[in-house]
C-alpha cells in the first residue's frame, strides 16, 4: 500500500572518535593507526602528524567497510626523534565536522632505562596486587582478575 509520508533523519551532531595509535614508537617503522567513530563517516578527513621539528605530515586514511573506522599504516622512518602529535578531524556521512582530536606519540626517543623501570614497577605491582599484566612494547594493558 502506498504511503503518504517519508522518514528523514536530521543529524546535526558532530562525530566523536577514539584514536588507536601507539603512544611510544621505539623502532621507527610502520605503525597501524585507526580512528574509530561513533557513527558512519564520510571519506573526507583531515589527518596529519606534526613532528618534533614542527613539520606537518598529511595522510589520507582508508575508510573501512564498516564506515565507522579510518585506517592508516603510517611510516615513522623519516620522523625525527621526539614528541609528535597526531591531529584528526573527521566528517560524518552528512558532513558534520568533528572537533579536532589529537594524540601525542613519542617517536624513537624512549629513555630505555626509564622504560625498563616502568616495566619493573609494573612487575612489582603485579606481584603485590596479583594482577595480570600483558606487555607489548609500547601499549600496556592491565586486566584486573
Amino acid at each position: 500500500m502506498a504511503q503518504s509520508w517519508v522518514n528523514i533523519t536530521l543529524d546535526t551532531s558532530p562525530p566523536t572518535v577514539i584514536i588507536h595509535a601507539p603512544t611510544i614508537i621505539i623502532e621507527k617503522n610502520y605503525e597501524y593507526i585507526t580512528i574509530e567513530a561513533n557513527e558512519n563517516l564520510d571519506i573526507r578527513q583531515e589527518v596529519y602528524i606534526v613532528d618534533s621539528l614542527n613539520k606537518r605530515h598529511d595522510y589520507t586514511f582508508a575508510l573501512e567497510p564498516d564506515k565507522k573506522t579510518l585506517f592508516g599504516n603510517v611510516s615513522f622512518q623519516d620522523y625525527p626523534n621526539g614528541m609528535a602529535t597526531l591531529f584528526v578531524i573527521v566528517y560524518d556521512e552528512v558532513w558534520n565536522k568533528s572537533m579536532l582530536y589529537r594524540k601525542s606519540i613519542n617517536v624513537g626517543n624512549v629513555d630505555t632505562e626509564n622504560f625498563e623501570n616502568v616495566k619493573l614497577n609494573l612487575e612489582i605491582f603485579q606481584k603485590e596486587y596479583e594482577v595480570l599484566l600483558n606487555e607489548k612494547i609500547a601499549d600496556i594493558t592491565v586486566t584486573l582478575n
Partner: protein
Amino acid sequence: MANNYVTITLDTTAPANPSVLIDGGSQYATDTLVDLTIGTDDVNTTEYQMKIWGSVDTTFDVNVQGTEEASSWITYTTGKQIRISEVEEQKTISIKIRDEVFNESAIVSDTIIYDATKPQVTVNAPDKPKISKITGRNVSNFSFTADVPFEEYLVKVVNSAGATNDLGTQILTTNGSVNTGGTGTFDTSTAPIQVTINGTDLEVANGGSGDNIVIKVFVRDVAGNWSA
C-alpha cells in the same frame, strides 16, 4: 359604544421570494449534517410555517422527509439543520413557506454534492534519507501524487504516520525548502509535485534534530476533504 360592523382582512398574497441555501450555498458537503438558510422577503413572519423535503436521512427528523407529501409543516425559522442521506451524490433540498393564513409560497430548491471520500496521497521515497545542515548534505528531495485533483496541500512534520492534517507543524520555506504547501488547482495525474526539504527548515519544524522524522503530505480535494 358597540360596533355594528367588523373588519376582515383578506390576504391572498403568498410569502414573497422564498429562498433556501444548503451550507450557505456551498457546492460540496463533506458531512451529512448540513445547515439550511431559509428566507422570504416578508418582514413579519409571525406564525409562518415551512415544509422541507428532499434527499434526506428520513430517520433524523420525522418532519423532514423525502417528499413534500411525507413532510410536515413546521414553525418557520431562518436556520435549520438537517441530515442528508449517506449516498455520495448530488442532493436536492426543497422548501416552501406559508403565512399565517396558509398562503403558500412557490417551491424553491438548492443542491449540494455530498462527497466524503478522502483523497489518497502517495509519497515516493526521498533521495536522501539522512541530512544535516551542512551545505552539500542539507537537502532531501521527494515527490508526491494524489488520486484526485486538489486545491491545497501541506507538508508537515508529525509525530506518527497516522496523524491527521490538523496535527503537526508545517515545514516552511524560509531556508530553501520548496513546495511544502500551496493553494490553487493541482492535478498530479500527469506530473508529481517535487518537494525539497532543507535541513534548517526541518530542524525548525521538528524542534531540533532527530532520527526518522516523520514528514507527511496532506491534500484537500475540491470538496474539502483532507487526505488521511
